[in-house]
């Protein structure tokens, strides 16, 4: 599973960070950081939930 974030769409509202805190982090500089671009399968449900609840559809999950 590979995660990509379209930073032109992302609004740094950190909804993904709630769904998958070990994968996404919004820091005090106001930017989103992807902590693991290829997380393990055990995180699939969290990552899918992050992608489905991102208000700007900035997250794509492949594979």
């Amino acid at each position: 599973m590979r995660i990509s974030v379209n930073f032109d769409l992302c609004k740094s509202n950190a909804v993904c960070m709630d769904a998958a805190p070990t994968v996404f982090e919004v820091r005090d500089d106001g930017y989103l950081y992807v902590l693991q671009e290829e997380p393990g399968e055990e995180l699939r449900a969290e990552v899918e939930a992050a992608a489905a609840t991102c208000p700007t559809q900035a997250i794509t999950v492949e594979g």
Partner: protein
């Protein structure tokens, strides 16, 4: 389960059909929606689309192709009845759709004010078409009057100011967004709006709306008169359950579901329409009109429909909402009211950059932040975990 019909083709309905396919449901899947448009996103209707920053093709809710979902898509079809026993949906043209599973996702629609006259220029804001009407008026330089300073009224006022338009907001309570943020923080938003040129009048009562064919003015108790070209009525929304009257489902300000979002055997509900006991808050009966909830419940409802009855998980959540006004990112999560103890744990309310948390029964029950997304989300997790308030005060750096 061989066939599923989803009624309501917006956020909750779309996330439900996407999840059904992701979980491997290969049967007939019908998505029924009253609007002619493919599912689109509502938050930009009071923000980027209304301001003109975005074009209308940018508000689609799904960028991936629809073919992959293999849907029977019935757009422009209004459901008029549901027979729960046979799980049959009747559409406005008389045709019927029967299925083994039904997802109810018809959302909510604006409330109106009793006694309003029928005049051109009196509008509400819920749909893409509503937005384009209001945007057209704004492009022509209309003077806007808004009744109701809830989130949507406040956002429209901010958008009108970003276009340099005159805007007056009339609110019966003492501050804007009081239901969402309480009076102390509401007062800081009142100041923000006034500093940006919104003519915000709180504690007022509308006595009459007048005009000759078209709205011209609003008369307030006490004699003040507000002249306007467009009057936006933004006094909240009510769940779209009219078509379910007589279906046998329990309706009580929403479709009443169990903790798994099941409303009847084979029938689930999701989004603005659904009322359910939320285990995160001791089973308090809730109906939530926020974006994230509709997305989460759409996914959960799909999972529920495919689960064995005994094995279905409850839907537990900490409600979350955001709003953007004058460059301030307002976010709140959980439950709180003006009556609860509040502590500002970061920043300052009057500088519109802060985090405040709320206490109920000794635990942190709510958080409200301005332009502090990371901390708000960390508190959202602490709320979900039932963290004691004393511990929460210092838990987030």
């Amino acid at each position: 389960m061989d066939s599923i019909a989803v009624v309501g083709a917006s956020l909750a309905g779309l996330r439900a059909v996407e999840t059904l396919r992701r979980l491997g449901f290969a049967g007939r899947l019908t998505l029924i929606g009253a609007e002619a448009h493919l599912p689109y996103d509502r938050p930009p209707l009071s923000k980027e689309l209304l301001s003109g920053e975005w074009d209308r093709d940018r508000v689609v809710l799904r960028r991936a192709p629809y073919d992959e979902l293999d849907l029977e898509l019935l757009l422009g079809f209004r459901a008029t009845a549901l027979d729960v026993a046979t799980r049959t949906v009747t559409l406005h043209d008389g045709r019927t759709v029967a299925a083994d599973g039904i997802v109810l996702a018809t959302g909510a629609a604006p409330r109106t004010l009793p006694g309003l006259p029928t005049l051109d220029g009196i509008v509400t804001l819920r749909t893409l078409d509503d937005c384009m009407v209001l945007r057209g008026a704004m492009e022509r330089g209309a003077r806007i009057c808004v009744i109701g300073a809830g989130f949507i009224g406040a956002e429209v006022a901010a958008t009108a100011r970003s276009r340099g338009l005159d805007v007056t907001v009339l609110e019966a309570l003492d501050a804007p967004m009081v239901r969402g943020v309480g009076t102390r923080i509401g007062a800081s938003f009142a100041a923000l709006h006034r500093a940006n040129g919104v003519d915000l009048r709180t504690g007022v009562r509308v006595e009459a709306v007048e005009g000759d064919g078209r709205v011209e003015r609003v008369r307030l108790a006490g004699g003040d008169v507000v002249a306007c070209d467009v009057l936006l009525v933004a006094v909240g929304a009510a769940p779209s359950t009219g078509w379910l009257e007589g279906s046998g489902l329990t309706l009580d300000d929403g479709v009443v579901c169990d903790e798994t979002l099941l409303a009847a055997p084979g029938v689930v509900a999701a989004g603005d329409i659904a009322r359910w006991p939320n285990p995160t808050f001791g089973g308090e009966s809730m109906r939530i009109e926020h974006w994230t909830n509709a997305a989460e419940q759409g996914m959960h409802a799909a999972t529920r429909l495919l689960a064995e009855d005994g094995a279905a998980p409850a839907f537990a959540t900490v409600p979350f909402v955001w709003s953007d006004q004058f460059g301030v990112k307002i976010q709140s999560a959980g439950r709180f009211s003006a009556a609860d103890r509040m502590e500002v744990v970061h920043g300052s309310i009057d500088e519109h950059r802060f985090v405040a948390i709320f206490e109920r029964h000794g635990r942190v029950s709510g958080v409200l932040g301005c332009s502090e997304p990371r901390r708000v989300m960390q508190y959202r997790r602490l709320i979900g975990a039932g963290t004691p308030f004393a511990e929460a005060l210092t838990a987030v750096e």
